[in-house]
């Protein structure tokens, strides 16, 4: 088991190393001198040369990469030129916003997906199955920016029961906090629920076909035991992996939803960095987001292994 964890840890670090290379070198090919970008078009050549050497732009590329990587390991991601602030503190400030929405959204998606996924597998080809399969298809086809606009009109403007923009920190009251993240989380949940429901349904269908299910029925167990203790337990591996991937994706900030609801999260920072070509900020954000993704995936893989004795014994046998 320890060897499995170490193995996964090693490959996660390799992925992050590759990502750091991609990020650094892709963003280096941006046309124009970053110093010129910061100083504006009317800067003197001397000023640009001075700032360039201060930023280390005159050094060879691999040296710049190494010093960037070392700083990154010390959590020093440089200074954003748009905000004039350190990237680390900008990210730290956005985390509560993005993480709150991501976690709330996944909670909603998990509840809906498991409820309808299980029912639709148990009552295959019933009305509830057709309904679930419609959610499955529509959930992945409706763009989040469109459903966001629709929800803003109905809940925020027509019914006036929910705020349509901005974020209220949890310290200023739990009810206000939940209200401020409800609509954006709902939009994200709608985007994720289709994929998750599909996996829950198909895993559950597989699980219901297993021999031990016949056993459980023959023994005359109640439906709660049959479906939850036996069928659901056998059907957890794939959904757990998908939940992990989805949570990781949302924790990286979702630019579209944060833009519609004017939330000061990671996704907004990404958009600002892209719009203004703030390379330092974008490098820091990409590294932070991909690290989150890799880390969450790692945790989920380990959890799945703990849940699934087959994987555990497979690795012990090695």
């Amino acid at each position: 088991m320890l060897s499995y964890v170490l193995d996964r840890l090693k490959s996660s670090l390799v992925v992050l190393f590759v990502v750091s290379i991609i990020t650094f070198f892709v963003l280096m090919i941006i046309p124009g001198n970053p110093a010129q970008l910061i100083l504006g078009t009317d800067a003197t050549p001397e000023a640009i040369a001075e700032l360039s050497s201060a930023m280390g732009l005159d050094k060879p590329l691999y040296q710049r990469y190494l010093s960037w990587l070392l700083d990154l390991l010390k959590l020093d991601m440089g200074k954003s030129y748009v905000y004039g602030e350190s990237v680390t503190s900008l990210i730290a400030r956005s985390i509560p916003v993005t993480f709150s929405i991501a976690i709330f959204a996944m909670t909603m998606a998990v509840i809906i997906a498991f409820l309808f996924g299980m029912l639709s597998a148990i009552k295959k080809n019933s009305i509830i199955d057709y309904f679930s399969r419609s959610i499955m298809q529509l959930g992945t086809a409706i763009p989040s920016f469109w459903i966001g606009m629709v929800l803003i009109v109905y809940f925020g403007v027509k019914l006036k029961i929910l705020p349509v923009s901005g974020f209220v920190p949890i310290e200023r009251g739990f009810a206000h906090f939940i209200k401020s993240i409800f609509l954006p989380s709902l939009v994200l949940a709608i985007g994720e629920v289709g994929t998750l429901l599909r996996i829950v349904r198909s895993s559950m269908l597989d699980s219901l076909k297993q021999d031990y299910m016949d056993m459980a029925r023959v023994k005359g167990l109640g439906w709660g035991k049959i479906y939850i203790k036996y069928a659901l337990r056998g059907a957890l591996t794939a959904p757990l992996t998908i939940i992990g991937m989805q949570l990781a994706k949302l924790a990286g900030g979702t630019t579209v939803v944060e833009t519609i609801f004017a939330l000061p999260g990671l996704g907004r920072l990404v958009l600002t960095a892209v719009e203004h070509r703030d390379i330092v900020l974008l490098q820091g954000l990409v590294m932070f987001i991909t690290s989150t993704v890799v880390f969450v995936t790692l945790i989920v893989d380990i959890l799945v292994m703990l849940f699934n004795p087959r994987i555990k014994s497979f690795h012990q046998g090695e």
């Binding site: 590759v18 991609i22 992945t140 920016f145 629709v150 009109v153 198909s202």
Partner: protein
């Protein structure tokens, strides 16, 4: 053959969009970029001159939807084609050559897969310009790891099958085996993946243009139409209806075709229905 509702519905939806696309080259009711301030915010109605109404500049929404279909379909088709070709090539290279080539290619693909959602596309747009070519480049690169991982795992699954071993022992070259044996064996999954990827390409393109990082005004694109309608749609909700429905029909159509083909070609109706 068993009736396949997903496939039929998907084909109908994609045909609707293709019909709009073809019509946009034949005749559009109005010039999609022609502004007419005295005609702004005309509501939709089948008996009106502007069936889907006009926007804040008095431009005809139906014509803009039709014109926008060209951009969306062009970007999606070209980027999925490019991305899948490069992805298939790299995935096959890794699986067949093995050794360091395999390691390097697959580690790069793992790295690209660590970028969630449209982050990779956004990062590439920061480096490139904003426009059709750049959206295509960004979405193509997004598609590469999807296809290369698929091809890689499929080749690893089939390389020990008897007919491949037989071909090897007959002295067939790697190229021959790839084109004669691997490609036909992989075709069903590749076609299915291609169709679903068309759906995600449409989603990425419209998201990028909604964020102002894709096709630039005054050209019409569905995502851009929605983002332009944001400041007016509280009073004129119809502005957001047509582009939204166009996007949903397109994505739904390609996804349903992907699902339907998956049932027919791969699962053969075994565990999905």
């Amino acid at each position: 053959m068993k009736k396949n509702i997903s496939l039929i519905l998907g084909i109908i939806l994609v045909f609707i969009i293709l019909g709009i696309w073809v019509l946009s080259f034949v005749r559009m009711p109005y010039n999609p970029n022609e502004m007419n301030i005295s005609n702004r915010f005309l509501g939709p109605g089948l008996d009106r001159d502007h069936v889907l109404g006009t926007d804040n500049f008095g431009r005809d929404i139906l014509s803009r939807i039709m014109y926008g279909s060209r951009n969306v379909l062009l970007v999606a088709l070209v980027s999925v084609t490019l991305g899948s070709l490069v992805g298939i090539f790299l995935g096959a290279l890794a699986a067949i050559l093995k050794g360091p080539v395999e390691k390097i290619i697959m580690r790069i693909m793992d790295g690209l897969m660590a970028f969630p959602g449209i982050l990779l596309a956004m990062m590439l747009v920061a480096v490139l310009e904003r426009g059709i070519k750049d959206s295509i480049a960004a979405i193509s690169i997004f598609m590469v790891p999807v296809f290369s991982r698929l091809v890689y795992s499929m080749i690893l699954d089939t390389e020990n099958l008897l007919y491949i071993k037989a071909a090897k022992s007959y002295g067939s070259s790697k190229k021959q085996i790839f084109f004669k044996h691997y490609i036909p064996a992989m075709l069903p999954r590749l076609i299915t993946q291609f169709s679903s990827s068309m759906g995600s390409a449409v989603m990425i393109e419209t998201s990028l243009s909604f964020l102002g990082l894709g096709i630039q005004p005054p050209y019409a694109s569905w995502g851009l139409m929605l983002s332009e309608s944001r400041q007016f749609f509280l009073n004129y909700p119809y502005l957001a209806v047509a582009p939204g429905i166009a996007i949903i029909i397109t994505i739904l159509g390609f996804n349903l075709i992907g699902d339907g083909l998956n049932d027919i070609l791969i699962n053969r109706g075994s565990n999905h229905e």
